[in-house]
């Protein structure tokens, strides 16, 4: 079997900004309470136009599981690594809490978990993937904004979507090679 490369494709037109993904993630991954502590988020786009011609978009986000990882590069203890399927990991025991990685991440996708004494971030719910379950944010979404899958499998839903539909990534100019793809 070939190596897997996990990715999430998002259709933000479907996003209601209901925050189901945010709460699901907090519960699933025991993210401590507090608005500073989060592994994923939904951002409210700027209100476009003027009354009564208005428009607004909403976009969920999380660690982009970059192919080129600025977080890993700056970690002095090699606590940040890349695991199976290209998922960027943090090893609690090695993390000294210097937070360089939090500064280096262009997506603000990391937070410091006081309870664990380590920096924490989205793992695509690796523990669920191992059991054949979808990441919590993907599974719970009322409108199926996120599609999760293996980009190395040309028949997967994510591969198919990226062939059929135009998409963009966030901050491509940073050269991070993110693996969250936003359909246009």
């Amino acid at each position: 079997m070939s190596k897997k490369r996990y990715a999430i494709v998002l259709d933000t037109r479907k996003c209601l900004d209901c925050k189901a993904c945010t709460v699901a993630c907090k519960a699933e991954n025991l993210v401590p309470l507090g608005t500073e502590n989060y592994r994923n988020w939904v951002s409210e786009g700027r209100l476009r136009g003027s009354y009564p011609r208005l428009g607004q978009e909403f976009a969920p986000g999380q660690c982009m599981q970059c192919g080129n990882t600025p977080c890993k590069r700056v970690c002095p203890t090699r606590a940040t690594g890349v695991g199976a399927g290209g998922i960027v990991t943090v090893e609690d025991k090695k993390c000294i809490g210097c937070k360089y990685c939090m500064t280096a991440c262009p997506y603000n996708a990391r937070y410091y978990n006081e309870e664990r004494g380590a920096v924490d971030k989205c793992t695509f719910c690796a523990h669920r993937i191992e059991q054949g379950r979808l990441p919590a944010c993907v599974e719970t979404c009322p409108t199926n904004v996120r599609t999760f899958g293996d980009l190395n499998d040309p028949d997967s839903e994510v591969s198919r979507l990226l062939v059929e539909r135009p998409y963009r990534v966030v901050k491509p100019e940073m050269g991070t090679k993110p693996f969250l793809f936003y359909l246009i």
Partner: protein
């Protein structure tokens, strides 16, 4: 009623008996962490899990569940299928049940936050008896026996001094509400007060009077949707909220009317900030175009309806040009939308919405919406309005005692169509305050929170003040519990075995709740509470509660083991996966005429308009604004604002005001303002936004609580119930919540 409850438990190996046998590692959990729950604010579940891992044991925290339980959500009214993932006797995560069709396999933020109802330190833990003045917040912990003896004694005293009707029973929907209503009936009071007249009574009335039933919109298959004030992207309702988005993709068009730019407006193809209270003018003008241009379904009208001939002349003056002046929507848009709607028919829906407690014309507005759907012939066809179907369950019979000399419901005669089960809040409360025609001096409350939900809070406080006795059963210290004499803690939905419930619809489904853990602290299921209380009212009353939940469920599925088997293996039972269309065509409708009633002879007989007549709403005078209220996707009515997870999403409500008006008033975004109506004054932060009409202000419902037992939100935001005047739609008795004008002052 010849059938009696059977005492035996359903067969060995069934889900229920196995659940009962299952011993959870509960002792260990309680032993370690209940102290933490009681004394220290719980940071998160991680603390619970950490507490479980004994020091030095080297137990590594794992996120992998060791057990899963099928149950069903109770964070709102949708009852979505849930799979609870358990670890070492702790509820770790609530996942959506992918087999549950009505939710389309999703679980929203509230559903995910549900586990905090169990582990929230703010939850009610023990029976409490008030020691200070009402609302002072002084309590002492009591045993169940002492609390129940007190409740039974006070209820008896009220019945003796006044009459059995002197006790009112206040409740709202839930899987164990039926035991509360059964208790009210066995006690002998006709005065049950439920939620519909604060919510959708006019909606049910208007559609029911037309169709003889309340139809379900086939949103998923509709090509054209019009939503008036139904904010489906935030006030989540299954499956409509999901299907509204799923039906998109270039094919489906959504036209949305709302004085606010909501999340639904952001998803709509066209948004019109309609002048509040004028939706009826819009619908009548659409009808004017469709009927005038003969774009209706003649064959359907001829075979399935009565009263079309009366409708034609009735619409004559309701032109788009006329409506434009009422609604602030251009006549050419109204005409175009009407034509597009008719062209898309029968896959076109004028969506009826859920809450319809907006204006005192709401029943007639819903009638007009129904008539519009009828004339384009979308009844019982794919993408149209569908009849609801049910799954039949076995009955659990009981025999309520008969008491002589109990008067009729208190508000009899105050509403054209009064529901004997639901009552009508506004006239009922007015009559309690006037003790007319008789006094009501005792109040039993289950799950409902009238201090947050009934307009004009000061009247509700006055009503409660004159009570000899108030008892509230709930899971948290709601405002109503806070003003009670006895508070009884119910077990949460994740700790209860609940009866099977059928969700009716085009594809009906049956669900039930299995307990994930045993009830924490001294909380008890409502069925147990009612049973214990019933025993204090003599053998005849006790007899009606002499059953176990297992036996109750066994009666529900008698002769149908497949229902229980499906619930055991999939967490949901249904008979078909797709709606069956058209079965009602050519058949009798459940109306007096047997047809869909465009012209309502029964309304005419009652002195109400047999066809919807438009009357313009009042306009706010200069310096005053119409107060609107509504919801976000994070909160259910007034119940989830204090949930630790959901509180993080919104800690306080704010007052929406258009920038032009804020400038005129010299008020800045984020500053605190006072809002004053004729019945109250509240203060909250100002949110200056273009998302609202300049003549309106808006606040989210459910803040400004009185209870200090809701520790996160006490002192935050404003209560709309304190500001809204109590007005009523006369046909259904629904309150009209959007007819209050307020002034805005700097705080």
């Amino acid at each position: 009623m010849s059938k009696f409850l059977r005492p035996e438990i359903i067969g060995k190996g069934s889900i229920v008996s196995r659940l009962l046998k299952r011993k959870l590692s509960r002792r260990r959990f309680l032993g370690v962490s209940s102290c933490a729950l009681g004394t220290v604010a719980l940071g998160s579940q991680l603390n619970v899990l950490k507490a479980l891992a004994e020091p030095g044991s080297g137990v590594k925290l794992s996120l992998v569940p060791d057990r899963s339980v099928f149950t069903c959500c109770e964070m709102c009214v949708n009852k979505c299928g849930v799979i609870a993932r358990m670890r070492e006797g702790v509820i770790h995560k609530l996942d959506p049940n992918p087999s549950f069709l009505r939710s389309r396999g999703m679980l929203c933020a509230r559903g995910n936050a549900g586990l905090q109802t169990v582990y929230d330190p703010d939850r009610l833990k023990y029976p409490l008896i008030r020691t200070g003045a009402r609302g002072e917040g002084k309590w002492r912990r009591a045993s169940w026996d002492e609390a129940l003896d007190l409740v039974a004694g006070k209820m008896t005293a009220v019945a003796d001094q006044y009459s059995r009707a002197g006790m009112m029973f206040v409740s709202t929907e839930g899987f164990q509400e039926e035991f509360f209503l059964r208790f009210a009936e066995c006690f002998g009071s006709p005065n049950t007060l439920r939620h519909p007249t604060l919510c959708l009574a006019s909606n049910l009335q208007g559609f029911g009077a037309t169709y003889g039933t309340n139809p379900f919109p086939d949103v998923r298959n509709a090509d054209y949707l019009i939503m008036s004030g139904a904010n489906r992207a935030e006030a989540l309702f299954t499956p409509d909220s999901i299907d509204m988005i799923a039906g998109d993709g270039g094919r489906r068009k959504l036209v949305y009317l709302d004085p606010r730019f909501t999340r639904t407006a952001a998803k709509a193809d066209e948004w019109y900030p309609i002048r509040p209270g004028t939706d009826l003018a819009f619908v009548l003008a659409m009808l004017h175009v469709i009927v005038g241009e003969k774009r209706y379904d003649r064959e359907f009208i001829d075979t399935m309806t009565v009263g079309f001939d009366e409708l034609v002349p009735h619409l004559e003056t309701y032109s788009p040009e006329w409506a434009a002046g009422e609604c602030d929507i251009p006549a050419e848009d109204i005409r175009r939308i009407a034509r597009e709607f008719a062209a898309a028919a029968p896959r076109a829906i004028y969506y009826q919405g859920r809450r319809s407690s907006f204006f005192d014309n709401d029943t007639q507005l819903r009638r007009a919406m129904a008539i519009l759907n009828v004339v384009v012939g979308n009844w019982d066809v794919k993408g149209g309005m569908l009849p609801g179907k049910k799954i039949h369950l076995g009955e659990n019979y009981y025999l309520a005692p008969w008491y002589d000399g109990v008067p009729e419901r208190l508000e009899t005669g105050d509403v054209t169509y009064l529901s004997l089960k639901d009552g009508a809040w506004k006239p009922f409360r007015d009559r309690v305050l006037a003790a007319d025609p008789y006094p009501v001096k005792g109040m039993m409350v289950y799950k409902q929170n009238p201090l947050q939900s009934v307009p004009n809070r000061s009247k509700t406080l006055a009503m409660m003040e004159q009570m000899d006795f108030i008892c509230t059963i709930d899971i948290t210290m709601s405002d109503t519990a806070w003003y009670s004499d006895v508070v009884l803690p119910e077990a949460t939905y994740l700790e209860r075995l609940d009866p099977i419930h059928v969700l009716s619809g085009p594809v009906p489904e049956a669900v039930m709740r299995n307990p994930c853990i045993e009830p924490l602290f001294e909380t008890k299921p409502n069925q147990w509470i009612m049973q214990q209380l019933a025993r204090r009212f003599g053998d005849e009353v006790a007899e009606s509660f002499n059953f176990t939940m297992e036996a109750f469920i066994a009666n529900q599925v008698e002769g149908h083991p497949e229902i229980l088997e499906a619930l055991r293996t999939r967490g949901v039972y249904r008979e078909n996966d797709e709606p069956v269309y058209g079965a009602s065509h050519g058949k009798r409708m459940k109306t007096r005429s047997g047809k869909i009633e465009i012209y309502s002879a029964k309304y005419a007989k009652e002195g109400q308009d047999p066809l919807p007549v438009y009357r313009a709403p009042q306009t706010p005078s200069r310096g005053r604004y119409r107060l609107l209220l509504g919801r976000t996707a994070y909160f259910t009515h007034g119940t989830t604002q204090n949930n630790p997870y959901l509180h993080e999403l919104m800690a306080e409500n704010s007052l929406w005001l258009h920038p032009d008006e804020a400038r005129r008033l010299g008020l800045r975004d984020g500053s605190r303002v006072r809002v004053r109506s004729s019945v109250g004054e509240e203060s909250l932060p100002l949110r200056v936004t273009e998302k609202i009409r300049p003549d309106c202000v808006y606040m989210d419902h459910g803040f400004g609580v009185l209870s200090k037992g809701l520790s996160r939100i006490h002192g935050r935001g404003a209560s709309d119930a304190a500001l809204i005047e109590d007005r009523m739609e006369p046909i259904s008795g629904n309150v009209a919540m959007h007819q209050t004008f307020v002034e805005i002052l700097p705080a």
